[in-house]
Symmetry: C2
Subunit: 160 residues, 2 copies
Amino acid sequence: MNIRKAAASDAAAIAAIIIPIIREGTTYTLDPDMSESEALAYWMGRDKKTFVAEQDGVILGTYYMRPNQAGGGRHVCNCGYMTRAGATGRGIARGMCEHSLAHARLRGYRAMQFNFVVSTNERAVRLWQSLGFEIVGRLPAAFRHPVHGDVDAFVMYQLL
Amino acid sequence: MNIRKAAASDAAAIAAIIIPIIREGTTYTLDPDMSESEALAYWMGRDKKTFVAEQDGVILGTYYMRPNQAGGGRHVCNCGYMTRAGATGRGIARGMCEHSLAHARLRGYRAMQFNFVVSTNERAVRLWQSLGFEIVGRLPAAFRHPVHGDVDAFVMYQLL
């Protein structure tokens, strides 16, 4: 798997990954009805560095990194990861997260924070824990899950 | 104390409150060097409802309310409060927070979340606790305080 910075020409491949996940609305707090151009403006926004993971020239995952806060909080970064439908379970999210941790250290970030990990996304919670993240906060009923109703969300954090 | 929605004509009075606090950089994760117009664009942005607290026609405090997340997280609101220098200790922040809790219920929000309460801001932590907020998360060394160095920040939360 090769992970590299996303180029503008990757937009269509990135949209093909992120739009189904946004439409499903079970893991990210994004408007499920946002347009493709709004979704790309979010995922590839100027406040973010966006990466793609490709295998044999096919883009199977994408992630972004940004400072989680400004001012006195800008040494903590935040990332979001999405894997292409049908390509999950192949270590792509793990590979992207490992890449992001290394890249964050390289850029001088001192910690990484996930602000909102939906508690029913158990595979993600376990994956992040296996990569060194701890649950440092629990937000009661903070996510209205389209299937499970109101569920908790976790704040996860790792010093770098 | 009268609390009302902010008008565009309140911008100068709001700037007089928020700019010194942003410049000090000890309580909010905003760039201390941001311009006045950037600060006002943030505080009075279209994603927010902005209020002012006035006494005898003088604006002594301001707060904003916004959805803390989109999509499945939009039933949780987030607020920020600032009191004019020299007017602290007079119950203005308490009054604004009480107003915001009532307003949030009125607008159908189900919870209120503060994402980043700097742990050294002890007066604020105690005030929010006295108004029903709980510390639901601790972010280790997430804030680089200009005086105290790296300090923790709290995530505070209240179901409505």
